[in-house]
């Protein structure tokens, strides 16, 4: 079971799930937010101590007036590492979380032991269209996010109580705040990716229609020394479509870099 804590970061309450044993691994979730007891993270927690915060405005974390964009989020998480007295950690970022992690690494690679980017947002690739998860209907959204059977159950979990429903809407509002425009990216990110000086692995779903595989390949090429592995039968939410493959890809890479 996951355990959660609330950390007060300069007046802003951050809800953090913290569980498992091993080297600390900071998991930064994506635009769809995060549930408790996600199977992929539970599996990872057998080898690592998972530290998984809800980003400001997502889940049960406060909206922070000081955090308006992804650069703010990156600095916010450098503050969080300070607050947790974590000198250097493994970081896994999915979707929005990957974008945050890259912005952090551009400024502060020394706070990383490794970086794993999973179906990451952040990069702009001109001429390679992304899926728009804001304009589409709920049915289309589920098709965009899932390749497998988990879509309906996922939505039902969010509809299971007024409290969960509120969180679902908070997540959507926070997702818009950080990724509406420019949509899902910082158009200048590619200028600075050479500054990601940390062992980096990119994990991508072959069936990702939100951020297609070409983005994963470009990240592999732009980040010095990065490698890429692909996961079949998975869409954008690979952590829910293929939790075992998700955990395996991460732990294999992180395991190679562990001290």
């Amino acid at each position: 079971m996951t355990e959660s804590a609330v950390i007060d970061l300069r007046g802003s309450k951050v809800h953090v799930q913290r569980f498992g044993r091993g080297e600390p691994l900071l998991f930064l979730h994506g635009l769809q937010g995060m549930s408790e007891n996600e199977p992929g993270l539970l599996e990872l927690s057998e080898r690592y101590e998972i530290i998984a915060p809800d980003h400001p405005g997502f889940g049960r974390s406060d909206v922070s007036d000081n955090v308006d964009d992804v650069k703010d989020l990156a600095i916010f998480y450098l503050d969080l590492l300070d607050a947790l007295k974590l000198d250097a950690v493994h970081v896994v970022g999915q979707c929005l979380g990957g974008w945050i992690a890259m912005e952090m690494a551009i400024y502060a690679s020394h706070r990383f032991k490794s970086l794993t980017l999973v179906n990451s947002a952040g990069l702009r690739l001109k001429g390679v269209p992304r899926g728009d998860m804001f304009v589409c209907s709920e049915g289309e959204l589920l098709k965009l996010l899932f390749a497998g059977e988990g879509a309906k159950a996922w939505l039902e979990t969010w509809r299971s109580s007024p409290d969960r429903e509120d969180i679902y809407e908070r997540n959507r509002a926070a997702a818009a705040k950080f990724s509406w425009s420019p949509r899902l990216c910082n158009p200048k990110l590619d200028r600075w990716l050479h500054r990601v000086k940390v062992p980096t692995h990119v994990v991508w779903s072959e069936g990702n229609q939100v951020i297609p595989l070409a983005y994963g390949e470009a990240l592999r090429d732009m980040i010095p020394g990065a490698s890429l592995s692909k996961v079949g039968n998975a869409a954008h939410l690979v952590n829910l479509d293929q939790p075992k493959a998700f955990a395996r890809e991460i732990s294999q890479f992180v395991g190679r870099t562990a001290s």
């Binding site: 804001f134 304009v135 429903e165 809407e169 926070a174 818009a176 705040k177 509406w180 425009s181």
Partner: protein, 395 residues
């Protein structure tokens, strides 16, 4: 009561085969459906209709802003108001509204409004709106900052109109070293500001605030909602802010159609009004309310009341029954407005006299009938006929 004619300038020649392919006439409807030759004819016809209203003694003419859709061809209502500025003589020109916060440079709209106010010798009314949700897809603006940007744009514009320049403006969204608007508005301290809305609590409270006392304009809705929101404005002034709102601060906007008899009016209006509500206004929830556009409280409210305001398939009968439109013989229409005024006391009425595909001849007759048979009686109504509070007490 002041009577305004209101126009949406719909694209009335829409090829209906679009309906099976696209979810809405907003955001995703390809602009290849728009024929500029037909547009030329429509714009000029619509402007004729508004100019006619000036000749017939309407107190005002109203235009508004919507982007990238077939519902209303006025991405810039300023252009329409400018076209009307010298062709009309007496009517107020009411831009209801401009979405100042959608712009990177709201000062540019403030300048344009000031120009129109000068050209017309002070006939301008400025409406300030956030724009509907679909606008945030079409302009790329972030809906999560919609409220905050709207308010900051408002503050910037009012300061630009009232504060001696040059001065600097240091906001969250807008940063200017030299705010120094030339020309200054003709009306002092500035043109009247109105707040049109479909009934957002935040907007009503914001408009009613004693530092603003802006006229709140309720966009067409079922009578039950009109009653609730217009009364909320008065209650809010009374209980929250400790003053009694003047009826001049209350406005209602609704489609109106008049013909010789009730039945004839229904038959004539039916296809055109149903086109407006079932086609042009059809907006999926995701487009109408992008994430962050509504406050958490408003969204929760919305969820419990209605999943989609435009989801319902209307007929002219349901529209009339629910009071969303006013339609009938001159007697029926006059009576209905007089009775509703007793209850709500709105001193501003905006009538949408062309809607959907309503053709030129029927529109012109509608405008003329309204002007001759209904308008004089309504213009005579004052606060003295308003009995709202006593009706409420009797409920």
């Amino acid at each position: 009561m002041k009577i305004f004619i209101f126009h949406l300038m719909p694209y009335a020649h829409l090829d209906m085969s679009y309906y099976d392919k696209y979810r809405a006439v907003w955001v995703v409807l390809p602009n290849t459906y728009y024929d500029p030759k037909k547009g030329f004819e429509l714009y000029n016809r619509y402007l004729d209709e508004l100019e006619l209203a000036d000749e017939l003694g309407f107190d005002g003419i109203s235009v508004n802003e919507h982007h990238q859709n077939a519902y209303g061809l006025m991405p810039s209502p300023v252009v329409m108001a400018a076209a009307l500025a010298r062709r009309t003589k007496k009517a107020r020109l009411a831009i209801l509204g401009n979405a100042f916060g959608l712009r990177d440079h709201p000062l540019n709209i403030a300048e344009e409004h000031a120009m129109i106010d000068n050209i017309t010798g002070g006939r301008l009314i400025t409406g300030m709106v956030r724009g509907i949700g679909a606008e945030y897809f079409s302009t790329g603006n972030n809906p999560a900052f919609s409220h905050a940007r709207f308010q900051e744009a408002h503050d910037l514009v009012v300061q630009a109109w009232t504060k001696p320049g040059p001065f600097s403006f240091e906001g969250k969204f807008y940063h200017l070293e030299y705010v120094n608007t030339w020309p200054r508005p003709y009306q002092q301290p500035h043109p009247p500001i109105w707040a049109p809305s479909t009934g957002s609590t935040e907007t009503i409270e914001w408009a009613a605030h004693p530092s603003r006392k802006y006229t709140y304009l309720q966009a067409y809705s079922p009578t039950a909602s009109v009653v609730r929101f217009l009364n909320y404005y008065r209650e809010c002034a009374e209980k929250k802010f400790g003053y009694t709102a003047s009826s001049d601060q209350i406005g209602w906007s609704t489609p109106v159609y008049i013909s010789d008899t009730d039945q004839k009016a229904r038959d004539e209006a039916k296809p055109h009004i149903e086109h407006l509500f079932n086609r042009l206004l059809r907006l999926p929830f995701e487009m109408l309310f992008p994430p962050g556009y509504l406050s958490a409280a408003s969204l929760a409210n919305m969820r419990s009341h209605k999943r989609s305001v435009s989801g319902q398939e209307h007929t002219i009968d349901t529209l009339i029954e629910q009071g969303i439109i006013v339609c009938g013989s001159p007697d029926t229409v006059r009576k209905q407005f007089t009775e509703t005024h007793k209850m709500l006391g709105f001193q501003n009425l905006l009538c949408l006299l062309q809607f959907g595909t309503l053709p030129r001849d029927l529109t012109e007759r509608n405008i003329r009938l309204f002007a001759s048979e209904v308008m004089p009686a309504l213009q005579a109504l004052t606060d003295k006929q308003y009995q709202g509070m006593s009706i409420k007490a009797a409920e």
